[in-house]
């Protein structure tokens, strides 16, 4: 029976040895075991997509990893979760693949290390951006100008000229957009490979993917919500989904406020700051409140969330983006509130500093998850419109 013992030993290496060090290999190991079980099929898109495959190439693992919304339902339902020897933890395994994806597809590649050094990245980005705006304000308005009250239209630009702000933010935003686009293109190229699951583009699939992304459809664990505390003792809730909506739609409102402001500026020659009841101020205030509530809530949930669900290496990545958003929004609200006071120039520099740091780190922080997940949802929506190429005999 020595041969059998060898086979058993090999099987243990293949499936029973616990989590593998390489995220891609671990993702393939986990999906292989899940594909023989399928109990979690009703929770989200990952499992139906998995069932369209008999084995898991790197492209498959990269695709499935970004479909996962980390709701945690499959982990608590799993008969093979630790302490079982199979040590299946789909949410964590796929989170680790996602981080590896962010790094592998980052442009320029030398900045890929920022994901794992997010704390350092945030500190340097903030130090740079804050120094830049305070130094500019002091240089342009003089040390006294930093503590002087300004009022009326154009008062912001009396501290920091409009053209200069457009140049700084335009350049950084453009750079971030290019970096995000290149990462997205690289990811799409990696997952949209020829084979039985290659599926044609369709308007309906795109609309479906957009709906799934904008509603966070798969953050509801098949209907009941997403886990914060351990699913052994607590039911899932809709907290994370609601908070993420507050954050995301708050972010969009702020973006809309800036867009309306741009139209006012160039279209009508109306200069910021705008009146309390003007459209840009209302949109920005509402958006800012949404971001503050969403990020503060998500930061709080991170503290009480079951650690089993997360990749510990990514805590700084999550917190980095949440804090940059939180303080960008909070400083923006404070600026709106105190714009007629002598604190306005300092608050303006502070707010712009946070926003610039946020923009600079968009491609090198947690923000990229939205890009990769949307692409994975698009691929899923496309292939789900074609018959399952792996139709096993009923068993």
């Amino acid at each position: 029976m020595n041969a059998l013992n060898d086979l058993i030993a090999a099987a243990r290496r293949q499936a029973v040895a616990g989590a593998l060090a390489d995220p891609g290999a671990e993702g393939a190991r986990v999906m292989g075991i899940c594909n023989s079980c399928r109990y979690c099929e009703g929770y989200c898109a990952v499992f139906p997509a998995m069932e369209r495959r008999a084995e898991f190439s790197r492209a498959d693992v990269d695709f499935l990893a970004n479909l996962c919304h980390n709701c945690g339902a499959c982990y608590y339902a799993c008969q093979y979760a630790p302490p079982h020897d199979f040590a299946i933890n789909v949410p964590r395994a796929l989170a680790q693949v996602r981080l590896e994806n962010y790094e592998r597809f980052a442009w320029p590649r030398r900045l890929a290390s920022l994901y794992r050094r997010q704390g350092t990245a945030v500190v340097f980005a903030l130090a740079f951006a804050l120094t830049l705006f305070f130094a500019l304000a002091i240089a342009l308005a003089g040390p006294r100008g930093l503590l002087a009250a300004h009022s009326g239209a154009g008062s912001f630009y009396a501290v920091l000229p409009h053209g200069l702000l457009v140049a700084i933010f335009g350049a950084s935003f453009l750079f971030s957009l290019v970096a995000l686009a290149i990462g997205a293109a690289r990811y799409w190229q990696a997952i949209d490979v020829p084979g039985p699951n290659a599926a044609p583009a369709s308007g309906a699939a795109t609309a479906q993917a957009a709906r799934d992304a904008l509603t966070l459809r798969h953050l509801d664990g098949g209907g009941d919500g997403c886990y914060v505390r351990s699913g052994l003792d607590f039911a899932p809730t809709s907290q994370r989904r609601l908070l993420h909506h507050l954050l995301f739609y708050g972010f969009l409102l702020c973006f809309a406020a800036t867009s309306v402001g741009t139209i006012y500026h160039y279209g009508f020659g109306w200069q910021a700051p705008y009146g309390s009841l003007s459209l840009p101020t209302l949109l920005g205030t509402l958006g800012g409140l949404g971001i503050v509530a969403g990020t503060a809530g998500l930061l709080w949930l991170r503290r009480i969330r079951d650690e089993a669900l997360a990749d510990p290496a990514q805590a700084p990545l999550d917190r980095g983006l949440l804090h940059l958003l939180l303080w960008s929004a909070a400083s923006g609200l404070l600026l709106t509130l105190l714009r007629a006071s002598p604190l306005m120039p300092s608050l303006l520099a502070l707010h712009l500093g946070f926003v610039l740091a946020l923009f600079l780190l968009l491609p090198y922080g947690k923000f990229v998850h939205g890009v990769y997940r949307s692409l994975a949802l698009l691929k899923h929506a496309r292939e789900a419109r074609t018959p399952n190429p792996v139709g096993f005999a009923d068993s």
């Binding site: 086979l7 099987a11 079980c37 109990y39 339902a77 008969q79 052994l232 096993f392 009923d394 068993s395």
Partner: protein, 469 residues
């Protein structure tokens, strides 16, 4: 132990589906309930952890179930698999009640889904739990917490005191000490004895050493043995267990669903000596996998090997462990530890006996062997297309049949013909009343839920209104 001893109305032994259903039912009837689960919290739930559905009678399409599954068809299915070893009254009670379980389950947090990919044949008869049995257990444990059922882990009932035909107290082992826990009523829902190797050896001899246990390691059968020793009437064949052929590389316990192997009917199965020993194509695999546990158990060293060629790939559910792969039969034999010449000879004889036919794995096709013993009566195709794959098989035990006899109120019957008014049983420990042998997918959870409800309700009544019990 838990609440003050004289505060316990209903003591429930066990932590799986039947135990929780009984505990929740008793609690909602107003009883103070203490539930004792032998396992640590992370392993709670016994074999229910590995389940995925329950079999439900229904007259028309309902929520996740298609078409209809009437009582008589359900009962006929049960008769067929048990060969008549069932108590018709209890069986029909189980079947009729199965139609009404899902609303109660939903109210206690269970969610359902349509049959899983690869299980279309169960879409009509079986309601699947979203997330499977462990999700169901989590929902029930949370309901227990909400309702105020006391739960203790690593607490095992080792013995029961039955005095004057009534349950008085349980001996409970916890933290290395044994305590006497009195209660007004008792529900025995602690499963069978399939994880107790010594007990299995009594029935199976040395062969039992090579059995794998598909489920929990905590079904040691101590409570079952105690009940039988204290006079409970036994039911079900003490020497039989439900065993299927699973991948021999599975873990010793809790391999669960993924260790099943669905390629047997697509190739040949040989024993240690490279010999075939049974018709691999007798019937559809879901109807035959249960007999293969016994077939493999009867082979030398309780080992067998399923061998397929490249033509079978993609026609069966993906196995958890990749098959051993080789470009020739001889090479495959070497990897599997078989004699290359003998396996070659077996494959040659098989290939020579294969008759022309139209292969169709979805029907009982006309691909069969001629002049071969044992024959392969369907899906017989030559093993001639490399690469070849081999999967080692072992008997994997799902559950045991021996249990205690109960009446329609789930009360335990004693060997002297009397009934214990405050001692109830539910789940695997009494499933033998309905399922004397064989298996019908999903009926274990049905029996557990039906009798868990009856036992919990009866136990609460017996505890709160002893005069009426």
């Amino acid at each position: 132990m838990g609440p003050a001893d004289d505060d316990i109305d209903v003591l429930v032994a066990g932590g799986g589906n039947a135990a929780l259903v009984a505990a929740l039912t008793a609690r909602e009837a107003g009883a103070r309930v203490l539930l004792l689960e032998a396992s640590p919290k992370l392993w709670r739930g016994g074999n229910s952890q590995h389940t995925r559905n329950l079999r439900c009678m229904h007259a028309a399409p309902e929520d996740v179930l298609t078409e209809a599954y009437p009582e008589d068809e359900y009962f006929d299915d049960l008769l067929r698999v048990t060969g008549g070893r069932t108590d018709e009254a209890l069986a029909r009670l189980t079947i009729r009640t199965s139609a009404q379980l899902r609303p109660w389950m939903r109210n206690h947090g269970v969610r359902f889904q349509r049959s899983l990919g690869g299980t279309l044949h169960l879409a009509r008869t079986n309601a699947f739990f979203l997330g499977g049995g462990k999700a169901l257990l989590n929902a029930y444990y949370q309901a227990a917490q909400r309702l105020g059922v006391q739960v203790l882990y690593e607490a095992e009932v080792e013995d029961v005191e039955i005095e004057g035909g009534r349950f008085r107290a349980a001996q409970v082992r916890r933290d290395g000490a044994t305590a006497r826990v009195p209660a007004r009523a008792f529900v025995a829902a602690a499963g069978g004895f399939e994880s107790n190797r010594a007990w299995l050896r009594e029935a199976w001899g040395e062969a039992a050493e090579n059995f794998l246990i598909r489920g929990t390691q905590f079904n040691q059968g101590r409570l079952l043995r105690a009940l039988l020793a204290r006079g409970a009437q036994a039911i079900g064949d003490p020497t039989q267990c439900h065993a299927v052929a699973i991948d021999a590389r599975a873990p010793l316990y809790d391999g669960g669903i993924v260790t099943r192997l669905d390629c047997v009917s697509l190739g040949i199965v040989v024993n240690r000596d490279g010999q075939r020993f049974y018709d691999e194509g007798e019937d559809f695999w879901p109807k035959r996998y249960a007999i293969w546990g016994r077939l493999v158990a009867q082979q030398p060293e309780q080992i067998a090997f399923s061998i397929i060629d490249a033509k079978a790939l993609g026609r069966f559910m993906p196995p958890v462990f990749a098959g051993c792969r080789a470009d020739s039969i001889e090479e495959l034999a070497g990897t599997l530890g078989l004699d290359g010449g003998r396996l070659r000879a077996t494959v040659d004889r098989f290939n020579a006996a294969v008759q022309p036919g139209h292969f169709d794995h979805a029907v009982l096709d006309d691909c069969a062997t001629a002049g071969l013993s044992p024959s392969k009566t369907h899906w017989a195709r030559k093993l001639d297309t490399p690469p070849y794959f081999g999967f080692p098989l072992r008997p994997g035990i799902t559950f045991t049949y021996l249990g205690v006899k109960v009446n329609a109120r789930a009360q335990v019957q004693l060997a002297d013909g009397t009934t214990t008014p405050n001692l109830f049983a539910a789940g695997e420990i009494m499933a033998g009343n309905v399922l004397g042998q064989g298996y019908l997918a999903g009926i274990g959870m049905t029996i557990g839920t039906v009798f868990g409800r009856i036992a919990g309700d009866g136990a609460a009544r017996a505890a709160l209104q002893p005069a009426l019990a």
